[in-house]
């Protein structure tokens, strides 16, 4: 019996506003096994993105214990969290978050610029392989601003998987795509999960996205049900 890849216990997150605070996550518990695909559904403002940011080590302002791939995020300092994001986590965002001034392959290769792994250099050939893997073969020199939404999301997925992360965190990955392109992207997640054994956490409000998940959890009132 192996430990779950993600273990969250009594997670609390609140936001200050005006004179008071609003709780978005209230004593939330979650466990996700290695290689699992789960979908977290919920209304806008329910705290889905907040949960994803905490799981990805982007947000340190929380209470409770969060353990991802044997890393205790609640005790890690900024430098360790940066390394964790670089090596363990792959983010895929709704609005792609590519850097417009860079080409497609430069965006894909971006995590390599911050890799601290000794003897693990990323070559242009590695980047080309990743581009092939996400269906962007031959588009490496494209300016990202000229690419379609589907191509941009594929480039963002390529960037997320470049360094072989154990966990892929996807925030509304098909939210800005048409149905057909969205389906292709979901198929890509399924393939990556099957071939690489990546654990995939999908945050969405779309049923079609949730359908590829082995488990669907709803975030309501700050807890998962």
């Amino acid at each position: 019996m192996t430990d779950p890849t993600i273990q969250v216990s009594s997670l609390r997150k609140s936001f200050a506003h005006g004179s008071g605070r609003t709780d978005v996550l209230c004593s939330l518990d979650l466990e996700v096994d290695a290689g699992e695909i789960i979908a977290i559904k919920g209304r806008s403002g329910s705290g889905k993105t907040s949960l994803l940011n905490i799981l990805g080590g982007l947000d340190r302002d929380f209470r409770g214990t969060v353990r991802v791939a044997s890393h205790d995020l609640d005790t890690m300092v900024d430098r360790a969290l940066s390394l964790f994001r670089n090596e363990v986590i792959g983010f895929v965002f709704q609005s792609f978050h590519l850097i417009d001034s860079m080409t497609c392959s430069e965006n894909v290769a971006l995590p390599a610029a911050y890799s601290r792994r000794r003897g693990h250099s990323i070559t242009p050939r590695n980047v080309e392989k990743v581009l092939e893997r996400v269906g962007l073969s031959g588009l490496g020199e494209e300016e990202t601003r000229t690419m379609s939404g589907g191509q941009k999301q594929r480039a963002a997925i390529g960037r997320a998987i470049l360094l072989g992360p154990r966990v892929l965190l996807c925030d509304e990955p098909t939210g800005n795509l048409d149905v057909e392109t969205g389906a292709q992207i979901l198929k890509l997640f399924q393939d990556l999960n099957a071939s690489e054994g990546m654990t995939v956490v999908l945050v969405t409000h779309e049923d079609r996205v949730a359908r590829i998940a082995g488990r669907v959890l709803n975030l309501e009132g700050g807890v998962l049900v």
Binding site: L58, S82, N86, F93, L98, S101, P111, R159
Partner: protein
């Protein structure tokens, strides 16, 4: 990484353009005026007042130190030979050249060939070792003690003697002898050309005329002047020959080889006057040892004679300081400008910084990338500043050569760009940019990535 930094700088060219201009201007002013100061200081200390050469006089000089000599007054306070030997033993002293003033009256006349009329003058003069001007005038210079090389042939007219000699007064009868060589200072020539020429309608004496005048003979009465005769000795007429212009010559007057002065002072004043020196020219082996040698000379009861070099040095220092302050103010303003530009950059790149943080950039990575961009602006601005300063110096030298009148020690190049100066300028330019970029870079590195990605 460097290509990413340069590309980021290129992307931010609109924000950084005016800042770059400030750095170029600041570094340009900084380098230009420091190079000008270094160039002028080099001329002043290397040629006008060689810092490695100290002129020392006895502790209490009287009127004689000004070159004014009453008949029969002797030399006033002098430096004895014993003290000269002591000075030679001071650590760091390379050479000591003694200088001895005429302790007797003298007057000179002649110069029709050069001045177009006979000139008369009381003579203020001194003597220096011929070795002191050997480097300036060359090995074949006239300036030496000819007394041992005179033919000594009996004569009654100059035409009875070889061409290089004249019929002079020997101890008992007239014999052929070489004229006494003399030097004048550049200062005296400038004084003559600048004031006497126009006041008395005399011919100008440019360098070519001075070269042509070498060997020109004048007559000089020794032991006798319009003010009276020396108390002892045999006043007589000698011939003197112009040997050239030297910075070692007395400012106003003539300078002859030391041996002549020693003999004449002994004859017209007394034996003690032939062994006491009016001043010493002390050559220091190394500029770094000047301070130590100066202190030792003071301890020996000697005074270092200032010819204004300290005041000029102070003026150059004030000049340099003023422009350093101005350039630092310019750099400070450009530093503030850089700071503003980087705040705008950080705002424009907020989302990009969030993305970089999401894929693994640490706060130090973000801070470092901004600082590297600041350094790149500083280095590029600094290089342009140095190029601008060099270009302005070329223009300055051209304008000086074209429009400034000739003056003593006028240099061909007023500027000295040392590698150290250029390096320091680049460091100063880069530092000002780093200071400007520091706070915005720090703020950007502390940006919450979740907010940046919203």
């Amino acid at each position: 990484m460097s290509s990413v930094i340069l590309r980021n700088v290129y992307r931010a060219r609109e924000h950084l353009g005016s800042s770059l201009f400030g750095v170029v201007a600041g570094v340009g002013v900084f380098v230009f005026f420091l190079a000008l100061g270094a160039g002028l200081r080099g001329v002043i200390q290397g040629e006008v007042f060689p810092i490695e050469r100290l002129e020392v006089v006895p502790a209490k000089g009287g009127l004689s130190s000004l070159g004014i000599m009453a008949p029969g007054s002797g030399q006033g306070r002098t430096i004895p030979e014993k003290k000269v030997r002591r000075v030679r033993k001071i650590k760091g002293v390379k050479e000591v050249y003694p200088r001895m003033r005429f302790g007797f009256p003298a007057k000179a006349w002649g110069g029709e060939g050069v001045f177009g009329q006979t000139m008369w003058t009381e003579v203020v003069a001194d003597g220096i070792p011929a070795m002191l001007v050997r480097e300036d005038l060359g090995e074949d210079s006239l300036f030496r003690d000819w007394s041992g090389k005179d033919s000594g042939k009996a004569c009654s007219l100059d035409s009875d003697c070889p061409k290089s000699e004249y019929c002079g007064h020997g101890p008992r009868s007239r014999v052929c002898m070489h004229p006494v060589p003399f030097l004048v200072s550049r200062y005296l020539i400038e004084l003559y050309n600048g004031t006497l020429v126009s006041a008395h309608n005399l011919p100008n004496l440019p360098d070519w005329a001075l070269r042509k005048a070498r060997g020109m003979r004048l007559h000089m009465d020794i032991g006798r002047s319009s003010l009276g005769d020396a108390p002892k000795g045999r006043p007589r007429e000698v011939q003197i020959a112009f040997a050239g212009v030297s910075e070692q010559a007395i400012d106003i007057g003539i300078t002859v080889p030391l041996a002549y002065v020693q003999r004449w002072n002994g004859e017209f004043v007394g034996p003690e006057a032939s062994s006491g020196y009016s001043s010493l020219s002390v050559v220091v082996a190394n500029k770094d040892e000047v301070t130590f040698v100066a202190e030792m000379l003071k301890r020996a009861g000697l005074v270092i004679r200032s010819k204004g070099e300290e005041q000029i040095g102070l003026m150059i220092m004030l000049f340099e300081t003023t422009f350093i302050v101005i350039s630092i103010l310019i750099l400070l303003i450009s530093s503030l400008n850089i700071s503003h530009a980087f705040f705008l950059l950080a705002r424009d790149r907020r989302r990009e910084l969030g993305i970089r943080r999401a894929v693994g950039a640490t706060q130090a990575d973000i801070l470092g990338s901004f600082l590297l961009e600041g350094a790149a602006v500083g280095i590029v601005g600094g290089l342009f500043g140095v190029v601008l300063a060099v270009a302005c110096s070329v223009l300055g030298n051209f304008l000086a050569a074209s429009f400034l009148p000739d003056f003593p020690f006028k240099p061909d190049d007023f500027f000295h760009f040392s590698p150290v100066l250029i390096l320091v300028s680049l460091v100063v330019g880069t530092f000002s940019c780093l200071v400007g970029a520091m706070f915005p870079a720090f703020r950007a590195s502390r940006e919450d990535p979740t907010r940046a990605l919203m």
